[in-house]
């Protein structure tokens, strides 16, 4: 009789477990499908696929170095802009702002994450790109033009525009995680620093930033992961040109944007396979980056919880 009542418990458990296990299967399915579909291209090009920059659908010859470069550089620009801003913003939210201000300020930053990518792209095409073309890029060219980074004609759309849009999109990610890290730092750390006669900034530097450094690194890596996979906004402003150029004003192409542009229209089977291999590379990179971020954030939160 007793068992009768509780039998359903086991079904319930197995049901939940079964449903949950579908998720790893899904992930394996996606990875396996990408691998399987990119086999022709892997056979044909091997490691040269990653190391050459020629992407020539007319002659069925594919290498993705230019796209890897585009993805990395645009993400790097984004990180360079977003990381310091986000860390300081997180400091503002946790250490400086009053409780009331903190709530609305956090909401503003969270809203940045809620705006859809395609809307950022729209804004990028019609507001940011012309602004860069008319004001920012000529100015940079004039003042810093001796650096190869800031040479060449200003198009507006290009690497710089993509990097800026991406930075706006990852600020909320980095800020949110960094904020959690800072909040998990026990107050006694701050009090100890204060008792030593530290100024407010010194308290922040010693007790907050130093203690949370692993977590900050994790947050930045997480932001990087998001920037690497972003598609729509980047496709709309990066310029879509498969080439490697040192200048930030030059157009480029990222791994995700080349998929968005060419996948539904590629006709030769090798072209399709090559595009799917880009998907595979992207999948593996984000997988790796996010695992890495997890390790850092996990460590930081572990330290926080052992207070």
């Amino acid at each position: 009789m007793r068992r009768e009542i509780y039998r359903f418990d086991r079904y319930f458990y197995f049901f939940l477990k079964g449903v949950a296990i579908c998720l790893p299967l899904l992930l394996i399915g996606i990875g396996g499908f990408l691998l399987n579909a990119s086999l022709p291209s892997i056979h044909q090009f091997g490691f040269d696929f990653l190391g050459t920059k020629i992407w020539d659908p007319a002659r069925d010859n594919y290498g993705i170095l230019a796209f890897v470069f585009g993805t990395l550089i645009s993400s790097l620009i984004a990180i360079l802009i977003a990381a310091p801003l986000s860390i300081f913003t997180a400091l503002f939210l946790t250490e400086v702002a009053s409780r009331r201000l903190q709530k609305s300020a956090s909401f503003i930053i969270e809203m940045l994450a809620a705006i859809p990518s395609v809307v950022y792209g729209l804004w990028g095409i019609y507001v940011l790109a012309p602004f860069l073309r008319v004001y920012v890029e000529p100015f940079l060219g004039k003042t810093l033009g001796f650096l190869p980074l800031f040479q060449g004609p200003s198009y507006g759309v290009g690497m710089l525009a993509a990097g800026i849009i991406l930075s706006i999109m990852i600020i909320p990610t980095i800020t949110a995680v960094t904020k959690e890290v800072f909040l998990s730092i026990p107050n006694s750390y701050r009090e100890a620093a204060m008792a030593l006669g530290a100024t407010r900034w010194e308290v922040i530097k010693m007790a907050v930033i130093k203690t949370g450094s692993a977590g900050i690194l994790g947050a930045v890596i997480l932001g990087l992961g998001r920037a690497l996979g972003e598609t729509m906004a980047v496709t709309m402003v990066i310029g879509n040109r498969s080439d490697i150029s040192i200048s930030l004003f030059a157009p480029g192409q990222s791994m995700s944007s080349v998929i968005a542009n060419e996948y539904s229209e590629a006709t030769s089977s090798l072209h399709i396979s090559a595009l799917l291999e880009i998907g595979l590379v992207l999948f593996l990179i984000t997988f790796f980056i996010n695992s890495l971020a997890r390790v850092f954030v996990w460590r930081a939160s572990l330290r926080g919880s052992t207070r």
Binding site: P57, N240, R241, E265, A266, T267
Partner: protein, 338 residues
């Protein structure tokens, strides 16, 4: 909260059932952006005559039209670059030419609202990145009357697989040896210079927004957006404006050599009136189709090459040459509908 959610979902679903109840023949096609304006017009006009024929067309590019047609995900495809034998081996699609159009070299240059002249080799050099300034001696030489500024040329090209690119590169291969050697032709090529835009829409958008830019688009996209375009020197050595007349002249020159399946290139045609970057645009259909879809599509095709042709001119396309229509009709009649 959940109850509200379920209620909304239920309402949406019932709405779907109701709307699906009205039995329409819905046909999905996709492909070339080049003829999108006229197809869009045709489908909406055709629906006025046959209210139950709901034909949807998505302009995703000719490459997309060929690919998705071959994959079987759409009912008909559209392309400006005829399928290669290799592409057609699996599906053996019927190519139905619908209209002709011109690919124009459009530009955005303050003070030069009209009258820019270009030759094939100059166009090739610009798109190869060899000519980088508007006041390059080669351009100045054939445009003595124009004040061309010392401004960088911003090249805009397609980022997707495109029949417009197919026609354009087919022309450049014929007129420039170094283009043939370095780039070649196809619906998607490895561009040596410039920015990429998605679709004729995207390239037009880029040119419109960027001073000093040059790009290639279907005539109507330049006309609709009041963008100037260059006159191009044809094979006979005459600078020709793209127009319905000059495109028709290019087609007329090729009528004698027209193959049975209409897959022909009419770029760089011999005639002295011909605009050199012209091309046919095709619908891709299966030679065997089933049921209501097939019947409607055949009806549409017959309408398009007869009554539909009158819409071509106002949208800056050239209608099919009269001599060809009989042949095309025969080809449509050969479609078997079960």
């Amino acid at each position: 909260m959940f109850r509200n959610l379920t209620l909304t979902i239920l309402m949406v679903m019932s709405l779907m059932v109701v709307s699906a109840w009205a039995k329409n023949v819905s046909i999905t096609g996709a492909g070339a952006t080049f003829p999108y304006p006229i197809y869009s017009k045709w489908f909406s006009e055709f629906q006025k005559i046959h209210p139950d024929a709901q034909i949807d067309y998505q302009s995703i590019g000719s490459g997309g039209g060929i690919r998705q047609f071959a994959e079987g995900t759409i009912d008909f495809g559209a392309t400006d670059a005829p399928m290669t034998d290799e592409q057609n081996a699996k599906v053996s699609a019927l190519h139905i030419p619908t209209v002709m159009g011109a690919v124009v070299v459009t530009y955005n240059l303050k003070g030069v609202a009209t009258g820019l002249k270009l030759t094939g080799s100059i166009v090739a050099d610009i798109f190869l990145g060899k000519i980088t300034k508007w006041n390059d001696p080669k351009i100045l030489e054939i445009n003595p009357g124009l004040k061309l500024p010392d401004l960088a040329i911003m090249v805009a090209h397609r980022s997707d697989g495109s029949g417009t690119t197919g026609i354009f590169t087919d022309y450049l291969v014929k007129v420039s040896a170094s283009w043939k050697e370095k780039v070649g032709h196809g619906t998607a090529v490895n561009w040596p210079a410039g920015l990429g835009g998605k679709g004729n829409e995207g390239v037009t958008g880029l040119v419109k927004q960027t001073p000093g830019s040059i790009g290639y688009v279907e005539l109507i996209y330049a006309e609709n957006n009041k963008l100037p375009y260059a006159t191009i020197k044809n094979k006979a050595g005459i600078f020709v404006d793209p127009s319905m007349k000059s495109v028709s002249a290019a087609a007329a020159a090729s009528l004698k050599t027209m193959p049975e399946d209409f897959r022909i290139s009419i770029t760089d045609a011999e005639s002295k009136d011909a605009y050199p970057i012209s091309g046919f645009t095709y619908l891709l259909v299966h030679p065997k189709m089933e049921g209501a879809k097939g019947k409607t599509l055949v009806k549409f095709l017959e309408w398009a090459i007869s009554d539909g042709q009158k819409y071509a001119e106002e949208l800056f396309y050239a209608p099919l040459p009269k001599e060809m229509i009989g042949k095309v009709e025969k080809s449509i009649k050969s479609i078997q509908v079960k």
